[in-house]
Amino acid sequence: MPRRNDLQKILIIGSGPIIIGQACEFDYSGTQACKALCEEGFEVVLVNSNPATIMTDPEMADRTYLEPITPEVVAKVIEKERPDALLPTLGGQTALNTAVKVAEKGVLEDFGVEMIGASPQVIYKAEDRELFRAAMQNIGLRVPKSGIARDLAQARQIAQEIGFPLIIRPSFTLGGTGGGVAYSRMDLDLLVAQGLDRSLIREVMLEESVIGWKEYELEVMRDKKDNVVIICSIENFDPMGIHTGDSITVAPAQTLTDKEYQLMRDAAMAIIREIGVETGGSNIQFAVNPENGEMVVIEMNPRVSRSSALASKVTGFPIAKIAAKLAVGYYLDELPNDITKETRASFEPTIDYCVVKIPRWTFEKFPDTEDLITTSMKSVGEVMAIGRTFKEALQKGLRSLEIGCFGLDTGWLNDVLPSREEIEKNLLTPNSKRIFYLGAAFKAGFKCQEIYALTKIDPWFLQQVKQVIDLEQEIAGQKPLPLERLKKAKKYGFSDRQLSTLTKKAEEEIRDERKSAGLHPVYKLVDTCAAEFEAYTPYYYSTYEVEDEVRVDPTNKKKVVILGSGPNRIGQGIEFDYCCVHASLALREEGYTSIMVNSNPETVSTDYDISDRLYFEPLTLEDVLHIVEKEKPLGVIVQFGGQTPLNLTVPLHKVGVPILGTSPDSVDRAEDRKRFQVLLKKLGLSQPPNGTAVNLKEAIQVAQQIGYPVMVRPSYVLGGRAMRIIYDAADLKTYITSAVLVSGEHPVLIDKFLEDAIEVDVDAISDGKTIVIGGIMEHIEEAGIHSGDSACVLPPHTLKPEVCAQIKESTRALAKELGVIGLMNIQYAVKNERIYVLEVNPRASRTIPFISKATGIPLAKLATKVMLGKSLKEMGLTSEKEITHMAIKESVFPFDRFPGVDILLGPEMKSTGEVMGIDASFGLAFAKSQLAAGQMLPAAGNVLLSVRDHDKPALCTVAEKFHQMGFDILATRGTAAFLNQKGIPAKIILKVSEGRPHVVDCIKNGDIQMVVNTSLGKRRTQDSYLIRRACVEYHLPYATTIASAYAMAQGIAAIRHNQLTVKTIQEYTS
């Protein structure tokens, strides 16, 4: 069947902010879907609250609503737009859940909207445990046995049915805490009692244990004619018991015979048919008993997922694009395979390489939580690596992580191996460093069987790790390195850096040796068909083989390499990928060949049709240099991918690689503390008083000199980033002696902390002559909270025009002095109308997509063209765009994933993503931003106020406002006394330490609708911490600063007086 002509307008729901478990893979799938449907001539309407996505670019859809993804807002969009169909399967769980709720409200029926891709019935059947189990029974497949218990007697009965061992999981706890494996009746009684206590709804689930079984995933697609194909099989390196998002995974499956694989394939086809997914992609997970091959079905996602994004990058098959086309009627055999052109999409990709995906965690950001990997996902990003051997792919993947390891490089030499006990412990309990402990175990002489017993990682994988370690040991014991061994090492994925450590030579020496022996990588194609057909898409990976397939046109001088941002992590996420994508599009618009280098499979930048050539490679000096040597580009763009490419700037520049845009020297002037001070002095700009210290004594002296409070950070970081605000000498002593490593080489940096200052972020673009301010963003939270974590408003809502003018002037002066060509970001603090420069970054910042969405000016694209030599004047941008609406960026945090972590904000960034609220007034825009971030602002009820002394005076206005709006104010003793004294009625509520019923009891009972709690420093008082933690666990809206509390009050006032309305970004910025 060709395209459905009965549909004209289609609504797509995006996935909202980046959170753990739902990252930029849904921008990738959503972008593909928007493009595919626009290409077919449909009118596409999009709802997504995440401004950092490519899919929300105004050209991607006809009508784009940067509005909160809630059932109410989506209903409003439907009412306004009257689409013919709603496609809910491309925006992750968020889109799926929202679509189901919208359907349940009857909105789809009322407005005659058809749900395409998957109906609510299909979604229920796939997601409801009981319906799913029954469906699987219908087709003769098995799911692990399970049951729900609300008391011990029930639990015992269920346990009898399931048999031991079994898993006990309390329902509704954070991060899957409080569960465990019961091997006996005694274990059962203990764990059930514990679990019931921890569960927020006094309920535990008992499940047959398949921990340690082999885990597999299949990506399946189906069309309306019931054609079903499997796009990719994935085998998890880590066995069952670890969330697949937190597992190292490998494609294709490695240890299944064809007989076993085909049974799984048959099961997958039966499942997609039984669940009834009519069109599109699904992800199905299986577990296989390693002892006898018994297979159980774990779950099915009736939508594109993180794994389907991975499968698309693994095979080259664009699952989301095809899913979108199938949803509007096409059959698989009517759609071409873009890569081969002559063959169709109705086939199963076959690959002739091995792919490894490795998660990237950021436990260092949350030192209060244990580094434990469980069934609840904790990683914030991932890398993918391609090789012709598993060993090569694994080592490329490990160095792509950018965690200071250049392969399976344990950092432990033989003489300093961890103890046997430590190794055993780390093998037995999965954690983010387990892969390195595997290496250590082999070095320490553990047998494969022993390691298998501890980890249940399939011996095939263990043997691969052993081969790497064996070769490492051979190399370490040998000097000079014979060519044959060097060759073997490269085939095993060893980096020059690893070899340099092992042979105690400089990395350059290894590189030179290799070059003079003619040993360099070749590039091979990802082509969906293992070379059976000619491929037209230039999607490459490096390997050490004979034939090089890359088609480099040596006469083409207009080639530019863009270095991407690598794995998502806190502090470097989708915003930078957005900029890289724009750079690539701009290069192509200007007639240049764009060459993308990146290692992150979730991104739009690694989609094969974004750039003229895609190299799926680690972003290390060695790997990038190989590409540069091959391509000989006009230049390399480093300013869009965040810190990753920036760190490569100097080494690339040193070996003569041309860097486009702002010169490496300017970058250094902005980054080097001393040179930066000279620069500011020259321009007559101020910065907070500061100094450095190499020991405690000096530190105390410096701090005394500049006065407390001070902001301290180490210049060299071990594990954590450890930036902190210190209020007195005692605090400083603890910090210096326990938190950081300070030495002559690695001094600690001390800055005066400007209390209660307003922080401002400015993004500007410069072509060397004209400098245009992209936007001035006033932070809601005061200075001292990481700019990535605070909410900000564009244009500034409280700064005086004179201050803004001064900020603009300083920005221009800095851009000019630094000779910025491209983008620049500056952070200022404003205190008593005085301006301090906190930081200058001559590169794209996290806020570029936000400003671009709010103003309609594509700053990253313009900056790219500027780097190619175009002037801003030529492109018609000579002055700042004044907007009449308000745009708010709010951050989204992963606190619910990390038990035991305090939610207070500070100088360390902790957020994973962002949303945008846009409307005519500050209040409405702020309310939308909160709604989009998942903070359901109450219109009435009880608000709890509990603040530190310092904040009490400022609290008055906030309390007054809540009181006026009819809220009842509850407050802890001190705060209540203060408010009552000021004439604001407040009822005293007990702290946890003061007896019961206390504040947490009230939260549990639903007697509190919102919380304002500020606290000094970190976890200073247990009482205050317990209040904040309860907010996370019971999903209460909360503010941890007075500024954000005030903004929330304004937001509440706005929604009490106005109905929320929706408006497209195209209307705001046209």
């Binding site: 054609n227 299944l256 064809d258 076959t350 012709r388 293992a530 034939e547």
Partner: protein, 371 residues
């Protein structure tokens, strides 16, 4: 041990033998299946051929006792990128290298198999020699040139089992004991894969006969249906089988797979031709023109029926390869005869087309009632 692979066009690839020393020759072909090496190695259709696996890691799950498609390894030689000496699978009982060594099949790893595959795709399938004994490229290329071609050659007689046998969970010499199955089928063994017999066995008493069995002899057994198996080489090289089949058409329901399908094509008056580099893999899309649905199929063939050469009044095209639009299945419009070029018996490969066996059973049922 160093090994050289020499192609008849003078191209040389280097590798390392992982099965000891030796020298072999044959037509070099590539297979794109990511799993199923054991089935591929034992598939008699590969007689006379050296198989390259495009998936680079081979040997991962070892060798087991069940996944065999004939009595021994059939390929002349085996080429992989990285052999996996450590295997892991609950059914495995030996390593791939040990199995190949026991079967005396020269096998090479460390080869840029993607380059080799691209070469064959661009230049077409070609003859080649693998040697660890003679490392002189010039001599090896000469040997490759002098290797006999597959075209017009009868390889069937090298793989057909010389004596009739019954199939019950495996080859048995004794007549089939009770319980009787609904149908009695004669399978003409042109190099039959065991999985075909396993699937036929579900509904049939299966008697396997050597390729040279005469039509008279077959008809004298009065079977309910006749099955023409897969097999190696060029259908034009087995004129005697074509002649036999010509005499069988119309007498009994006939189902042919692969070489059996090509022989049907020839017996029905058509022609066959050699494909540039063949179809070998488990991901080939075939459209069933009768249902409009697409099947993902296992394939292994270098020759193909030229559908245009057939009398289209009498013969209907039922299956089409969606990659290159070649003929993948035909049926007679009036007589109970049909065949497919691909492998509905899979092994290795998807099970999408196993319905064809049911069609064969149905056809026999219809004829039994009518008869």
């Amino acid at each position: 041990m160093k090994a050289l692979i020499a192609l008849e066009d003078g191209t040389i690839f280097e590798g390392e033998s992982f099965t000891g020393s030796g020298e072999i020759s044959g037509e070099i072909v590539f297979n794109t299946s990511m799993t199923g090496y054991q089935e591929i190695l034992t598939d008699p259709s590969y007689k006379g051929q050296i198989v390259t696996m495009t998936y680079p890691l081979i040997g991962n799950y070892g060798i087991n006792q069940e996944d065999i498609e004939s009595r021994h390894v059939q390929v002349e030689g085996f080429i992989v990128h990285e052999y996996q000496p450590f295997y892991s699978n609950w059914r495995a009982n030996m390593s791939l290298a040990q199995y190949l060594k026991e079967n005396k099949v020269l096998s090479v790893e460390g080869v840029d198999t993607r380059a080799l595959t691209r070469h064959l795709r661009l230049k077409g399938a070609m003859k080649g020699v693998i040697s660890t004994l003679d490392l002189d490229p010039v001599r090896l290329v000469k040997k490759a040139i002098n290797t006999p071609s597959l075209v017009g050659r009868d390889l069937v007689r090298e793989v057909t089992w010389p004596k009739p046998y019954y199939w019950k969970d495996g080859p048995v010499e004794e007549p089939h004991p009770v319980p009787m199955k609904p149908y009695r089928v004669v399978a003409l063994d042109l190099g039959v894969k065991f999985n075909i017999l396993r699937l036929l066995e579900k509904e049939c008493t299966v008697l396997v006969l050597p390729a040279h069995t005469s039509a008279t002899k077959i008809l004298s057994l009065n079977p309910d249906g006749i099955f023409l198996s897969n097999g190696p080489g060029d259908p034009a090289g087995v004129g005697y089988v074509v002649e036999t089949v010509r005499r069988l058409i119309g007498k009994k329901p006939i189902f042919g797979i692969c070489l059996g399908h090509q022989i049907l094509g020839l017996a029905l008056g058509g022609k066959t031709f050699k494909l540039k580099f063949g179809h070998r893999g488990a991901n080939q899309p075939v459209k069933n023109l009768l249902s409009g649905r697409v099947e993902i199929t296992a394939q292994n063939h270098g020759f193909c029926v030229d559908f245009d050469s057939l009398d289209q009044e009498a013969v209907e095209l039922t299956h089409l390869n969606l990659n290159d639009n070649t003929c993948e299945g035909i049926r007679h419009r009036h007589l109970p005869v049909f065949g497919v070029q691909y492998h509905p018996e899979n092994s290795p490969g998807p099970h999408d087309a196993s319905y064809l066996f049911d069609q064969f059973f149905e056809l026999m049922k219809k004829h039994k009632i009518r008869g």
